[in-house]
Structure formats: C-alpha cells, structure tokens
C-alpha cells in the first residue's frame, strides 16, 4: 500500500470514528468501547477488500460481513452511511424508537447488514452457513465475520471453529477483536481466552495476529487470508476498547457507557486536531 492510500484510509477511519462517537453521543448512551475498537478493520474491509453495491444491498456477488459482536453496530452503520447504503442523517436516529439503526445489527432493518446478531456466539456459525451456500452455488465471494474476545467465552464459537475447519471453508475470514475487556473486567481476569492464536491454529485455521489499529498490517493479513487455499482464516486483532475517544479509551466501564453530547463533540474536536 503506498503512503497516499494509507493516508486515505486513515482519514476514512477518523471519519468513521467521528460518526460513531457522534451517533452514540446524540442518544447519550451506547456500546462505544467495542464499536471504536473495530473501526480500522471495518475501514480496511469496506474501502480495500469488500465488493459491495450500496444501491443493491443484497447483490448476489457481494462479499458478506457478519458482525457477530452485534453491539458494535454503530461503527458499522457509520461505514455503511459513508458508503451510501442509506442517508447519513439516519445516524442521528441510532437506537431511537422506530429507528432503522438499532443497537445490535439487524438484517431486516438496516440496508447493508447481512445477518441479525446480538446474542453472542451465533454469528460465526451463521457465517459458516453463508460460506456453505457459496460453495453450493460455486460462488467466489468472501464471507467475513467479526467476533469479540469476550464473545469467545461462548462455547458455540468453538463449535463453529471446529466446523469451519472441518468443512475447509477457505472463503471464510474471521477476525477476533481482542480488545482485552469484557463487561465485568479484563478478559484475562473474568474468563481468560488466551492463547488465542494457539487455539485457532489447533482448530485448523490459518491464524495471524496483528495490531488491530494498524491499517497496513490489517491489509496485509487480509491479503494473506484471501490467498489461503484450504483453511478458514482467523486474524486476531490486538485493539484498544474505546480507541480514539478520550473519555472512553481503555476504561473498564466503556462497554455500554453514558456520555453527553458535549463530551462527544469534544472527542470529535480532538480527533480533528490530530495529524497522523
């Protein structure tokens, strides 16, 4: 990736971050932590790798994304809005009664969402179903899935891990957003899931571990994963929960956090001030 492409993507990530903070801030409460930690991977996916048609959200040849950690919806909505799946002012309606943008990703409410998620542990299995369908149809699109490290406590994640490898689903590329925190504390203290790469490797996946906020590293990892011929791929991302919002970053209470709009605007101002 050349420097100008990298800068372009960094700017996109900043814009996604701003919109995520803004949309949650307007409501006054939301899953700011887990949404901000996936901003870079969503940037690289939607602006570098995924074929999507914003005016045809169910285009048969599109690449699919299952946001298994569905509470990160606000970040994905920001991306989809920027890509033109729906008007940007929808972002102002996040989680309000009757909204098209609920807290947890919903395939029936929001254009561009491929699967309804929110009860942790189910999305990776759904992604397997999509990959099996793709194989049946001799299709060549890719199915991406994002799970959390806390979510990896769920047994079903490991049922899916076994099955994807067993079925040799090489078009399935998953990410673990290892932001090291869950609701009640650090993952290592509540229910330790490490050594994650060793686990996924043992389950038969092509496994990589990257800095989840390093756009170039994410891009390289996805390229490598897309080239994997016979195994599903897992990219463990080391991230910071709440990354980029001064009031939330790294705080153990940022999973579902209340903050007023003035705080949101201050965070946005600080992002705009940053030169990277």
């Amino acid at each position: 990736m050349d420097p100008s492409e990298l800068q372009f993507l960094r700017n996109i990530a900043k814009e996604i971050r701003k919109r995520t903070i803004d949309s949650i801030g307007r409501l006054g409460v939301g899953h700011i932590g887990g949404a901000l930690s996936v901003v870079e991977v969503l940037t690289v996916l939607y602006y570098r790798h995924m074929r999507v048609w914003p005016d045809q959200p169910r285009h048969p040849e599109r690449d699919r994304l299952v946001l298994s950690k569905g509470h990160a919806g606000p970040a994905l909505y920001s991306v989809l809005a920027m890509k033109g799946f729906f008007p940007e002012d929808w972002l102002h309606t996040l989680n309000r009664g009757g909204t098209r943008l609920p807290s947890h990703a919903d395939r029936n409410r929001t254009p561009g969402i491929d699967m309804s998620t929110g009860s942790l542990g189910q999305g990776l299995s759904a992604a397997i179903g999509m990959a099996l369908a793709a194989r049946l149809d001799n299709a060549s699109h890719t199915i991406y899935a994002i799970i959390g490290d806390g979510e990896s406590d769920e047994g079903q994640v490991w049922e899916a891990a076994m099955a994807a490898a067993h079925f040799k689903l090489n078009r399935l590329i998953a990410f673990t957003d290892a932001n090291k925190m869950q609701i009640d504390g650090y993952v290592r203290d509540i229910m330790n899931v490490e050594d994650l790469p060793a686990k996924w490797q043992a389950f038969g996946w092509f496994t990589q571990r990257v800095d989840g906020h390093d756009i170039a590293a994410l891009d390289q990892a996805i390229i490598a994963a897309r080239g994997e011929p016979s195994r599903p791929s897992m990219i463990i991302m080391d991230t910071i929960k709440g990354k980029g919002a001064h009031f939330a970053e790294g705080r153990l209470d940022n999973h579902n956090m209340a903050f007023d709009y003035a705080t949101a605007l201050e965070a946005i101002r600080r992002l705009d001030e940053q030169t990277d």
Binding site: V66, N108, S125, A126, G129, M130, A133, Q156
Partner: protein, 314 residues
Amino acid sequence: MPDIEMRAVYAETLIALAERDPRIVLLEADLMRASGTGVFQKRFPQRTFNVGVAEANMVSIAAGLAAEGKIPFADTFACFAGRRDYDQFFISANYARLSVHLVGTDPGITATYNGGTHMPFEDMGNMRHIPGLTVFEPSDPVSLRALVARSAELDGCSYMRLHRRPAPALYPTGEEFELGKGKVLEDGRDVAIFAIGALMVHEALAARTLLAQDGVAAAVIDLHTLKPIDAELVVRFARKTGAVVTCENHQVRGGLGSAVAEVLGEVFPCRMKRIGVQDEFGEVGDLPYLQKRYGLTASDIRDTIREFLSRNGN
C-alpha cells in the same frame, strides 16, 4: 395396509422436494441414523451437512444458509431441538426472519429407553412462545408428507415434531392438508377430543370406540398444527359438544391443552379437560409401560372423559 415408518416417509418427502427445488438442504447433528435421512445424503451429498454433536451450531448454520436463499431442514431429537438450540433458533432463525425448518424427532414418551434426559414434554410449549413460528406434529404418514411439503413453502420458520416409528395411515393417499387447519377424523356430539401427534391421535380414536360402547359419541379432531391454532374449529366443536378434551404426548402445560384453553377462555368458555403428562420428568420404559405411567392410553382417555362428563353433570 401395514404401518409405515414415519421417519422413512420424512426422508422420502425431503428427497422429493429436493428433486424439484434445488434450494432444499439438510442439516444433522450426528443423529442422521436416528432420523433416517441417510438416503437423502446418498442422493444429495453436496446438500447435506452433518455438524456432529453441536445443535446450537447446526441451527445458526441453517440460518446462514437460509440467509443465502436455501431452504434448510435441520433435524435432531426433540429434547435437544426444544431446549439446547433454543436461543439460536429464536434469534439466528426466527428473530432474523429467516426460514429454517427445525425437526424434533422422538416426541414425548416415544424416546422410550433413552429415558428422562431425552424425553421432551415441553418442546411444543417452548416453541409456541416464538413469535410467528409454525408449530406442528403430523399424526400419520399421509399428513406428514403433505405438511412437510407445506412447511417448505412457508415464509418463516417451522418446528415439526416427528414420530419416527411406524404408524398407520389415518387419511387416504393424496389427502390435502393446510398448516393451521385441523382435520375432523370422526364427528360426535357428546365430547370433542382434540389430539395432536401420531401416538395420541391413535389413542384418541381408540378411546372413541371405547366411549361408544358406553353410549358416548366423541368427536376426534386431529389438530396437527399447534401454532397457528385452528381457533375456528376449536370453537365450532366446543359449541357443538359443550365438552372439550385435549390429548398430547407432552405436558398439559404450554402445549395443545393450553392453546385450546386460551382460545376457549376468551371466546367460548366451556368445560375442558387436558390430558397429557403432568408436571413430571420422563423415565425409561417401553412404550406400553410409559403410556400407562403417564396416563396416555386409550382407556386412560376413556376413564378421564367419563369422569369429566359425569362430574360436569352429564
């Protein structure tokens, strides 16, 4: 005509549907031998997915397949279908408005020697709580064939209880069925017996013969679809007889008895008696032992109805 193995009919029906419609796929969780769908796998190996002993995974995978336009049938024992994968069926399939057809085999006491850990008396109740879900239990091979075909046409999910064993045909070949529309097997004016499933519809018919000997004319209605319930039929026979009895291979709580009581209680309150398993767990035994143990024989039905009718001033 000899009894036909219900599970064989199920597999044949799936094959016939799949021949016509390439979207039909099958999922199993290491119970293919039990559901008898090995023949489907032989015919359509690419369209069969066995996920091993992982029911939750199976159901969410089925949802993913449905999201891509496939029509998945996912089988496991009814005890697991009704409990183990409940959140997955609720959220990945039903909440997500995808069409997944979950099949629970060995309903109620038909789990026999597998005993209490495998004996579902609450699966229909659990399933009834899922918004928009179609819940049914065919009583014979003819209705099974027809209702499976109808379920594949649904815009939405279904849960079917599948009695695996041989069962006699109660309907002529080619009889038409609609989900949500019960069938009157026998008319009668003294008491209306609403039954569901192969075991209890059979026992209800036998009970009707016993009751006739006592001069009691019982109607027997095969209410194969628990949800949406055929409220019109329920009320019609309640008005006609003034005495309603329900029979199910399931707890009296949450299933057919409850569904009928809900209708009558609001529309046409009427004397009612629910026959089924009480607030109990299952246990091992052969079918005759278990029927006696849980009060599910034709003579139990006859005795209960006689007592019910006399107590209520008949």
